[in-house]
Structure formats: structure tokens, C-alpha cells
Symmetry: C2
Amino acid sequence: MSHTKIDRAVIVKLREKYRAELYDNVLPFWIKNSPDREFGGYFNCLDRDGRRYDTTKHVWLQGRQVWMMSRIHNELHRPGENSPYLDMARLGAEFLRRHARDGRCVYFSLTREGKPTHLQRKIFSECFYVMALAEYARASDDDSATAEAREMLSHVIAYAKDPSLLGRPSYAHVPPTSNLAVPMILLNLIQEVNGADGTDYADLAAWCVNRMHLHIRPELSLVLETVGVDGNVIDSPEGRLVNPGHAIEAGWFMLAHARRVRDAAMARTAIKIIDWSYDFGWDEKHGGILYFLDSAGYSPVQLEWSMKLWWPHCEALVAFIMAYQETGDDRYFRKFERLTEYSFSKFSDPEFGEWFGYLDRHGEVNQRFKGGPYKGCFHVPRALFLVEKVLGELLAPNLGMQSLDVIDKSQI
Amino acid sequence: MSHTKIDRAVIVKLREKYRAELYDNVLPFWIKNSPDREFGGYFNCLDRDGRRYDTTKHVWLQGRQVWMMSRIHNELHRPGENSPYLDMARLGAEFLRRHARDGRCVYFSLTREGKPTHLQRKIFSECFYVMALAEYARASDDDSATAEAREMLSHVIAYAKDPSLLGRPSYAHVPPTSNLAVPMILLNLIQEVNGADGTDYADLAAWCVNRMHLHIRPELSLVLETVGVDGNVIDSPEGRLVNPGHAIEAGWFMLAHARRVRDAAMARTAIKIIDWSYDFGWDEKHGGILYFLDSAGYSPVQLEWSMKLWWPHCEALVAFIMAYQETGDDRYFRKFERLTEYSFSKFSDPEFGEWFGYLDRHGEVNQRFKGGPYKGCFHVPRALFLVEKVLGELLAPNLGMQSLDVIDKSQI
């Protein structure tokens, strides 16, 4: 535990850096290159310079961009007020509502015109649909979008609690497993649907936290992606898989929830899993956070395990500045600074805007595009937005988000 | 066209190198580490030193190892004669026949005991099942295995000609596509089921060659993995995808078929696609064959595109020594030599046997294991075996496989 005070001027300068990156480098890339004014929605497959290399519309990214544009609108404008962000959000929200749903399911990808091309038997398209409409409802002052978000969330909850509804084949002799992604995204969705002050879905949130605890393994000082639903560790590549960026994201979702429910023990756990996962995932040789690891030290079977992806770094930026805000422990601020240095120098593209998404282990750009089937207007601007807010709160500690002073800081 | 004669001593030395690698370094790794004497079949997830890190039995690799062990037996022994290779082949063949089938389908993966854990809606498990039983039938002198191979092949053919039978969802507005893997693997299966002299399935072979021609694009000097079934090029990452190793493998399958049917034009085409694909896929910066490329120069969306995998190099070794044998053009021999130098120095592990499978772009080992969900006892020993045979034929040109002297060599 260390409490050297961080110089106020350092925080002021960082805040300015994050604000400029968000509003001058990242958001303009999407506002300029992504809108499809002819068919609605966004082009999300955009090359380094913003030119599109595919017209497929991936629904995760349509939903996430609606959320992001709505969130920025809600930060800067009143509900329903004209703004370029609300205009962008509407373009995507209307496209989604018109084309992406098929009853209780949401497609994974659509043609440019909005015809379905792929349906996954997973819950994530549905989740990003919920997230999009929940925030868009606040931006546009449209209660019908709130209602639709809550209705779709009810289907997501049903799928999460009984995955057999998704129609994936299962075998009686294969014990059911829990995937970390499901409780963590649901916990985040609850926060999104509730908005700043809501307290609905409390039982579901408790279920999510309990599920997440199955994945948190103090005996390993690690978070495992997949465990048995009875909490047993599975001795296979799947059961030993660690995704540090994912665990760090789970950590800050849990920390945000702990603040809402004022649970200091939960906040401590959240910060612990952030710290474990970063320490396990940081590549001492080349810098950056590795994508996948095996808890027992075997080579992960995922070919891309050693790559450095933008989103784990985005999640870690948010997580460590929140951990610092929560505890005042400057070790977290140092990790935040190290991550800022790595991320801005390796991922950010000052020439054409936005961040590269995929570096090889050595830190060289492996994919030059800015948008693809799994990268869009989301992780980078969300991280910049959230970090900038926390930095602002650190400068004005009596405003905005509060840390849980109930935490016994000596125990962290 | 160049016809500098390759020194006989060079070929003698290379043949010895390949033979030693096969019989002293590669096969012993599998014979020592893979057999499961308790439940049958093979452990195929083996770490660098041969220790297993997962007991899942991946059916592609069970089938391929049965094929390989049977093939070696058939080279060295009489049908049904006792040999360690036949013993190994039997261990896998009996396990497959007992556990891997469910009617017309073959599972993708099984537990150690043989219970199913995954069924793919693709045809490849079925293909490797056919390949395994066809060669095993010759090794064991078991006609029932031949019959079963042919019966399963009939299901594969039905799936290949009408993919809707696999139960994958499709949309009326999405035009059907052709995947290069399907006709090329079928063409190879026909050769495997027919054995050395058979001529069955001639119509199917013609269908395969026609389908492969949809993928061969002289206007690009490339082979595309996915095209419309009417032969149109699809302008998307999927439609622009080039997998040089796969195209090179298709090339030598086609060259082997051209020899059987004595079609010189087809042989020329086969060698052309080998050469195109190698030239497009060779990484001038770091050496080795890249895994995926985009025909228009965009970054492939596959994260692992820049990696160097063992199997494209194995396929290229076979393809170029066959191209040299066919044409006498020493440019092919030089490429074969360059590939030999890269592959033996980067992939081979003299300490523990077998080859590493996955290098990063720089040529560093990215996955240390020797066997995994997609790597087993197949590509390395098959390539070593086939190359050693061709080198032997080059030393005794009147024995064994014949080249098509009808080729007008000036046109290549």
C-alpha cells in the first residue's frame, strides 16, 4: 500500500490528453466514415484511412455504436436536443429496430440493406441490442426504446439461466459449464438499463455476482473463463483458459456494481481480480497485455494468444484509474500511467484517427484496419470517455462518482 | 524454364535427411507418446516433450493417424503382417469404428473414453474417417473396412453436392458459395479409396476438378478459397481470402490426379497454381509462407494471418518436389530446397521429436505443443514420406511414379 500523492498537474495534463484523443481523434473517425445515409446503420469494416472494405453490418458493432453515440449525447446535451451524436445514434437505432430482430433473437450480421446473413446461438447480439436501446432511449427521450430494451433483456435473462433455449446441442455426459462472459455482461446490462440511479434487477445482479465468484480462484490468484456450474475447475485447455483483458473488464463492472450497492468487500474483490489479471497478463518481454494464457503454463491452443489487442488495454485503463480513485493507492496510478504510455504509443493513429486493434507480440501492427467484425466505435471511445470522467472527478473529488470510503484500505 | 541438372549427390543427401527425419525423429514421437492402451485411440494433445495436456480425442487427428500408420505399414510390410505401425493403426481404427460414428455423421471430438463432445456441421470428420478406413483396410486386409469407407464416402458426396443436408441455416437472399476445401478433399479421397490403380468415381473426380476451376483465377494469378457456385468473385473479406498453403495442397492433389488420368493440361494448371500461391504467400521480409492473405491487399480479418504454420510448408515441400519431377525445371527444385531449409531449421525439434506447428511472423515458436486440436500425426510424416518417395524415384527414374512426358515443358 502506497499513498504518494499524485501531482494535480499530472492529472490535469492526462485529462486533457484523453479528452483530445476522444473528441479530436477517435469520434471524428466514426462520424466521418461510418454512417450509411442510404440504407441506415453504420459501415463497421473500415480500413486504416476509413475506407470500407466490406459492407457487412455486424450487429454487435451497430449496437455498440448506438450506445456510444447516445452516451456522448447524454453527456453533452439534453434528451432529444439536436446534436450530431443523437443524429448518429438515431441512424443506427432505427436500422437495428427495423432489421436486426427476429422475435426473441437478434442476428449476428446483416447485409448492407439489412438482410440477415448469420445468427449465432449465443446471447451477445441480444445484449448489445439491449445496451443500445437503453442508452438511446435516454438520448432520444423515447420511452418505447426503454420498453424494448427491457423486453429484450427478459429474453437474455432466460437464455442466460437456461442455455438450452439457445438450441446448442449438449450431451448428458458433458457437465454444464459457466462462461464468465455471461454473468459479467449481464451485470453491465443491468447497470445500463437501470441508468444512473435505478435499482431494478437486484436479484439478477446477485446471481451475476455469485456466478462470477465461481470464476474467481484465490488458490490460483486468477480468474478462469470457463468453470463447471458447480464451481469445479476443468483440467483442459478450455478450463485453464485465462483472458486477462476480459477478467479486468469483469473487475471494473464488479467495482461499479459494488459502488452502487455500497459493498466494500465486493469492491476489494473487484480490485484484486483486476490486479491479478494484469500481473498475469502483462508481457514483461515486449510490453502489453497478452490475449490468452493457460493457467498451468501450457501454450494456449488459440493461435492469437500472444497478440496485443486494443480492447484489453482499454478495459485496463478504465479499471486502474477506477482502482486508484477507489483506494488512493498510487501503485494503481503507476499501472494506469504505464498502460496509457503503451496504448497511446502503440495503438493510436494520429494520421487517420482511431486506434489500431491488433498488434503482434512484438507490438507491430498486424491488422491495419480500424473497424472489423469485432472492432467498432466502442472500446476505445468508451475507455477514453470513462477515464476522462474519473480524472475530472479526481480533480473535483466532491463531484460526481464517489468512492466507497468504507473500504479498509490496509487490506488491499 | 531452366534445366540445370541437379547433382545426384544432392538428391541422395536430401533423401537421407528426409528418411531420417521421418523414421528417427517424427514417427517415434507419436509411437511413444500418443497411444491410449486403456481406452484405445490416440492422445493427440501432446506438449513439446510428448506429455499430454488434454485427453480430448479430436476425430480429424484420430483418422489421420490411422491413415498415416496404415500407409507406413503398407510401404514396409505385407497386408496383415505384424508391425508396430499396423498395431498403432488398429488401435485407432477400432476406437474410431466403435465411437466416432453416429449414423451418417462422424463426431468432431470425443472424450478419452470415446463419448461425443462436439459435432460439426461440416464434412471433414467424415472425410478423415473415410481416408482412415480406406488405408487401414489395405494394411489389415479387412474388406469390411473398405466397404465402410465407401459407404461413408457416399454420405460425404451427398453432403458435398447438397450442403443443406448438413443442417446449416441458409438465407434465400445469400447466394450459395463454393469452398475450395470441399472439392479438393474429395479429389484426394477418391485417390485414397481407389488405391494405387483404381478408377472408380470418375464422374465425381470430374465434378471436383470443375469445382476447383471456379476457384482458380488467372486474372488474379491466385486461387480463392470461396467463390459463388456460379464462379463469380465475391467482393468481401471472405471472397478475397487466399490461403496459400491450401491452394498449394490443392495443386498437388490436382497434379496427382492429372497423372492418373494422363491429362497434361491439368498437370500444367496444377503446377501453375502451386507456383502462384507460393509466390503470393512467401514472406519476403521474414521468410516462410503466410497463413492467409487478402487478394486485394487489405489486412485479412483472421488474426493469425501472418503466422507461419507447419502444414502449408509440408504441402509446399510435396508440391515442389512433384513439380520438379514433372517438369525437370530446376527453379522448382530451388524452391523445394529453400522450403526444406526453412522448415527443418524452424519447425523441426531434434530434442523431443516432431515439428513445432505454429510460429509467429518472425519465425519464433508461438505454440510449443506438438499435437493439438488441429495438429497430429499427419502433415509432417505425410510430407516426409511423399518427398522421400519422389527423391527415390528421381534417383531411379524408371521405377515408381511416372511423370507425364506428354507435357510441353516450354509452356510452363
